[in-house]
Amino acid sequence: MLDLIIRFSPLVLVLVGAAAVMLADAFSDKGQSNDLSTVTFWAFVGASGGAIGLWVQGDTMALHPLVAPFLAADPMALLLDAVIAGAGAITALLAGAYLREHQMERGEYYVVMLLAAFGAMVLVHSTHLLSVFVGLETMSLGVYSLAAFRRTSPRSVEGAMKYFLLGSFAAALLLFGMALLYGATGEMELAAIATALVEGSAHNTLALLGTALITAGLAFKVGAVPFHMWSPDVYEGAATSVTAFMAVVVKVAAFTVWVRIAVVALSAANLADPFSGWPPLVMGLAVASMLVGNLSALVQTNVKRMLAYSSIAHAGYIMVGFVAYAHSAAGGDEGAGDQALSAMLLYLASYAASSLLVFGSLIWAGSKGKEVVSYEDLKGLGRRHPWIGVAMMVGALSLMGFPPTAGFIGKYYLFQSAVNVGDGLIPLVIFAVLASAVGAFYYLKLIVVMYMEDQEQEAAQAVPMRSVHLWAAIGLAAYFVFRIGIAPGNYMEIAIGAARAL
């Protein structure tokens, strides 16, 4: 029992944090100010620390037979635990600043956030269709209600409603796909599914159909085109601290579980065939996401909407790594496959850090009464408030993929891994690079607006907020952006280690 608690200490710590926040909120007097965001922050930091500690210890003892089929405690899960918990810690600080400033702070927010992060962590540990679904729903339900947290704003409610309805539909697709996969193989454990598929005792057409449905369901969660309709509305409507959480944690967890399902369960030759299985499907999603995401982001006037489309585009880039993995696995090149997977993981981490930095700066620039949401609000911000300008510029450059930031390393490593696979993927990589060039346009527009344009005199200017929480969050995010960007060495090693152990 104690062994299990230690092995899953990141999850346990997040749960303990949720319970602590719940109790603290319930037993505190009305009007008494509690710094629940700090409690949440430390819970996430603890979870992150736990994951790192477990990684360093490198324990490979077998899990209890009751747990083993459902949850794994392998390096990849630990790495993503650390990423999710780290992102959770930063968003907890952002929420502590944002919600208090806009007088929306209620204890439930942190409880739901912790529990949603718990769901995300369960997801990255899942090795069984049951725990995948339960984890996914835990995360999604939490995020749905966070998206609707700003009940007074019709946009928030509208976005949350769309998210909820479409999300339920996607969950139904996913579940149907799982049912078909179970019907085809008679197994629900990912490894056992793979065995059944490889040994040929399974029904292949059914498995293919199940794979397609599962892919569609997961593509919705990561916001890939054409399952992306919800994301601009939700990103725009939700409170900015929620958007940051959603953009990072949901995407990271959904991609991880997608990788795990695809790599562990759907690795049979006919399903993972580069030309007739799920890889062409993912390639189509990747191309569509990069195209639609980048082009739509160009024409947005609202920064949050622009970031939503940019996150769709990023999902497309990450899927390039996915395709690269499938091609190298089919070619029997294990080294290149591991490199592709590790590139995806590293990209996820760098995307998380840079997104948090941009969203943090957006929160920073506004205060009660006037939030910064459009390019109009940003005009001249860089000259009026240099620190915010620098923070946002660094975040945008990192999302764009400009050295020496994390985004550059992520993109470089990802595209390089795709090129390494062979000539077959060169067109895709060229397309991805062109797409990033289009992407550079709107990120640069953000910077240009901040430094080179002036706001009209009569327009209401947003006053930046002052909060220690916020500064800490920005500082942390910026640290990781530069840490991965300048000295990515051991992060790469960790990612490769995680990919190799999968």
């Binding site: 949850l71 209620r106 439930e108 927010y109 409880v111 529990l115 339960v134 029904h203």
Partner: protein, 193 residues
């Protein structure tokens, strides 16, 4: 499957299909809810024909007893006239929807018809054996599977329910605190009961 089981299956399946179509095509929301109720009861018949007794009971208990009643509750709260404003839908959308539905149904049907995998037999009971037999889908078997085999997902579901409850409170509270900060729900001057 024996004859009576097959009969139960075909009747339930036919009713299930018919009521499912009814659920999505009824104009009146409450009639759609009743169709759904019938659909759920016929699903229960399908489970029974597969000897999943407990699942059948739970199906009725949860879906017919709670979910449909909640649907009806919500429909009545929103108001019986809420069905009258329907946005006219373009013909193209309808055709697209129909083609999509037809396509996915035929793909599924094609796949299932070609199903050649080995089917697991359902343990049969000797005729006349009472409740002790048929533990395949019974309380004991399902309980053992749930609490021993699938303990981890079962416990995870408790977290899922917690996040659902807290999330619902978070959303619901957002409105009351925003409109009237002092109003804390219905007043209960002398407490309850």
């Amino acid at each position: 499957m024996n004859t009576s089981g097959l009969m139960l299956f075909w009747v339930s399946a036919a009713v299930a299909l018919g009521s499912a179509v009814g659920t999505i095509s009824m104009r009146n929301p409450l009639r759609a809810a009743v169709s759904l109720l019938i659909h759920i009861l016929s699903l229960c018949g399908i489970y029974l024909s597969l000897k999943a007794h407990l699942l059948a009971t739970i199906q009725v208990l949860v879906y017919a007893g709670a979910v449909v009643v909640l649907f009806i509750f919500v429909i009545m709260l929103i108001g019986p006239t809420a069905n009258e404003q329907r946005a006219p839908r373009a013909v193209g959308t309808r055709i697209l929807g129909a083609v999509g539905a037809l396509l996915s149904t035929s793909v599924l049907a094609f796949t299932l018809v070609r199903h050649d995998a080995q089917l697991l037999p359902i343990p049969q009971c000797p005729p006349g054996a009472g409740a002790e037999c048929g533990q395949f889908g019974g309380v004991t078997a399902v309980g053992a599977e749930l609490y021993l085999g699938s303990m981890v997902p079962f416990e995870l579901v408790s977290i899922l329910l917690t996040v659902a409850i807290v999330g619902a409170i978070a959303v619901a509270k957002g409105k009351t605190t925003a409109t009237s900060p002092k109003n804390e729900g219905p007043t209960t001057p002398e407490g309850a009961a």
